[in-house]
């Protein structure tokens, strides 16, 4: 089965999530790269939006906030490469066991990072770490026999800005948490000591995702229309974003 390769460029948070859902429902194996404009916070399916995000601050800074269709934690999307990997379970490319499949899909990314001499390794359940520090977070869902895993690879990181928008459990320890996060999070820039362009990373990752036959393409007109509708009716709606 041929894999579809998509680079949808920068989109709003709602549109990015809508496109991922449309692609999952399409039933076609796809690898998509994308970016966020404006920067955004995505929260996990089961998270309480007001528990996780300083909504006033996000609004003041022009940061989008959206609920994902996948579980996991809140993510501040800025200075990163985001991917989504969509595959029918029946292809047998990834395990039906969710924990195993995280390891398999993250394995492609790890191989790509290692080609830059970055000592990346899988940390169950859903993270990729370098020397103990997180460089990539990933989240997965499954529907009607389809697997969707999307995730981020940090090109650079501004932990202070991240925690100005994401809520910390206790304001009294904000500074301590930022210091701790500085110790727990890394980026490609930090590891290499130099900036790596998103295009170079995409190219390298493509070489390491074991996709078999591939074909680059674009979203069809129908897919764009469906995603725009879904973006407006679901991912921009209070009903969806404030459901928890």
């Amino acid at each position: 089965m041929e894999f579809r390769l998509l680079d949808t460029g920068t989109k709003s948070a709602a549109m990015n999530m809508a496109i991922d859902e449309v692609l999952m429902l399409s039933g076609k194996p796809t690898l998509r790269f994308y970016d966020w404009d404006p920067p955004a916070v995505s929260i996990g399916y089961f998270q309480g939006i007001e528990q996780e995000v300083d909504l006033c601050r996000a609004k003041a800074e022009g940061v989008d906030v959206v609920r994902r269709l996948t579980g996991g934690g809140a993510v501040f999307h800025d200075k990163e490469l985001t991917y989504s990997f969509i595959v029918p379970e029946s292809m047998g490319l990834v395990s039906r066991n969710i924990l195993e499949s995280y390891g398999q899909i993250c394995g492609f990314i790890i191989d790509g990072l290692r080609s830059f001499n970055i000592n990346a390794e899988f940390k169950p359940i859903n993270d990729i770490i370098v020397n103990g520090k997180k460089i990539s977070g990933n989240a997965q869902t499954r529907r009607d026999g389809m697997v969707l895993q999307h995730g981020t690879i940090l090109l650079d990181v501004d932990v202070k800005r991240m925690f100005s928008i994401l809520k910390v459990p206790d304001e009294k320890i904000r500074d301590k948490m930022i210091s701790a996060a500085e110790e727990r999070v890394t980026s490609i820039k930090r590891e290499l000591g130099t900036t790596l362009g998103a295009d170079e990373l995409k190219k390298t990752l493509l070489d390491h995702f074991k996709l078999g036959t591939t074909k680059s393409g674009n979203l069809s007109k129908t897919e764009i229309q469906t995603a725009e509708k879904l973006s407006k009716e679901k991912y921009l709606s209070k009903e969806w974003n404030f459901r928890r």
Binding site: F46, Q47, Q51, G72, I98, Y102, I125, R244
Partner: protein, 112 residues
């Protein structure tokens, strides 16, 4: 049935509780519950865990309404509501453990 649930939710003894429970080697469960003594009037189970199909969390939340915070009852309810689900970072037992912590909080505050 609906009327009974409404009655429970508006009990005069109802109090709100919140509790975060980090699953050992797993994810975070964040509970928000209204309790009438140790009986659940309503509960929201948030967190950064993975559960498929996702909407089964609503089944669990609804199944817990009216139940007391007793281990056996909670175990049976969680196992039934989440039967066939795939989970990562949590298990039915972890939800039960979180709810039992909530009971400890309730008892502590009751005695205070």
């Amino acid at each position: 049935m609906e009327l009974q649930e409404v009655t429970r939710q508006f009990s005069f003894n109802m109090k709100s509780y919140e509790l975060d429970y980090k699953v050992p080697n797993g994810k975070l469960i964040r509970l928000k519950a209204n309790l009438d003594c140790d009986r659940i009037c309503s509960v929201t189970i948030n967190g950064d865990f993975f559960l498929h199909p996702e909407d089964r969390i609503l089944t669990l939340e609804r199944s817990l309404v009216g139940k007391t915070l007793e281990k056996v009852t909670l175990q049976k309810t969680a196992e039934t509501a989440l039967k066939g689900c795939q989970m990562a970072g949590v298990s039915p037992k972890d939800f039960v453990d979180a709810l039992l912590r909530l009971k400890e909080t309730y008892l502590r505050l009751k005695e205070a």
